[in-house]
Subunit: 295 residues, 2 copies
Amino acid sequence: MKKSVPTKIINDIERQQTVAIVGMGLIGGSLALALKAHGLAIKVLGVEADEIHAKKAMECQLVDQIVDIEGAMLQASVVIMAIPVNAAEKLLPELLNACKDHIILDVGSTKAAICKVAVAHSKGSHFVATHPMWGTEFSGPEAAQHGAFTGKAVVICSEDFSNKKALSWAENMYTTMGMHLLYMSANSHDLHAAYVSHISHITSFALANTVLEKEKEDEAIFEMASGGFESTVRLAKSNPAMWLPIFMENKENVLDVLNEHISQLKKFKSCLEKENVGYLKELMENANKITRILK
Amino acid sequence: MKKSVPTKIINDIERQQTVAIVGMGLIGGSLALALKAHGLAIKVLGVEADEIHAKKAMECQLVDQIVDIEGAMLQASVVIMAIPVNAAEKLLPELLNACKDHIILDVGSTKAAICKVAVAHSKGSHFVATHPMWGTEFSGPEAAQHGAFTGKAVVICSEDFSNKKALSWAENMYTTMGMHLLYMSANSHDLHAAYVSHISHITSFALANTVLEKEKEDEAIFEMASGGFESTVRLAKSNPAMWLPIFMENKENVLDVLNEHISQLKKFKSCLEKENVGYLKELMENANKITRILK
């Protein structure tokens, strides 16, 4: 008779190859697909409070199973939070409290607040704060994309508090997905994100409102809209449930950029008002230097 | 012995199937390709003051021959101006003076000023003011694209002064290229263009300057830039030689939109400053309505 392997050991082997993702949205769903595609997990579990999203995530075959938080901590060795930043900050202590040998990650767009939560917790070393620099204006499980992260950057902000095992796991996950790692402090991240991501969303939201306001008196205003308009306004479709907490948490940095942006717009305004063609040309030629960054 | 056809008649038949394009840039080059692709011209001539661009246009096989303005009027029955709006306004009277049975078109991004020039000229009925709603942030002959205009809108502003033959030719050209025609007054065009095109360029130029300004003290600012940033800033690569005259000519409308846009941005600013989460959410949800326009 073959000697049977104790169930506990079988469960533990399986647990080491299981990753749970909290939040079956654009990022969580795309991460689930990438984990499977790159053999980073044998089993991927999804935690999703919204029943319709949970059902959709299973239908789209993003995950193998929908579980609750307790189930995730029991069955998975890695738990990744892909939920709005304020929700992640609230959930993190709960996960850390239940933490044994787990690795906990977040993928949110602000990092200072969540790093503070981790540092303040006795088991904070199990946590790695990360921000993969990819997204679209769409949300929900149906927005998940295959190969979303390949070739993109990911910011890691936890060098100083994450334990070696957790940090290595996160680094390996992202490099296996074809991402390049950027290390910076949480404060640096939040400042940079304000300049190259958060402000773009504010300008898009505001531009959409500008034109929608005009539409109230002139219904045909969108008839002529083409690629340029679409490009500058598409982020206005972004999900307020995700972006509201980002703006509020990063409000100091966002306000700094927003003030600078308004003052740059006022330079254009002043040039037009004063017919200062020379300076207007200079402003545009300076902006052309962005070609150095965007090929 | 076969009776020979007089050279004049041969030349005239050829002339009826020849179109000249003044300006071998993004739009002129793409139009040249489309004219050939759709069999709208047997021969396409290019007029280009810049010698390097002229050479490039021939190398890229955009046109059959580079000629000067006189050559264009002599050899072609249709002349399309694809040059900066202020240059087109200057050239139009010259073309109309030399006009016999010619059809003259422009494709510029402002329409009020050029329509005024046409109306004031005794041969203004030969002119059709048009604006195909397609473009990219790139310029020059190498930026020309095959199939650029298909599925896009084109605005025609000359119903009231163009003669029937000229108008029909323009309408046929654009519909054959797969464009849908929008008719509006030059003033309506310029107002609408300010809202769905010109302001997008101003915000992109200003956003590029905002971040480039920050880069002076923080070189790593662009490390994290990804798709969202690229989308809102790409128009900042646009050619000042083309956009400067557009902004100056349409400055009243552009200033109106710019003022509205700044005031929309200030609403976001005020929400952040006052931590007015409710109103911030409302602003974002309102902006989401753009989904109705951009699918």
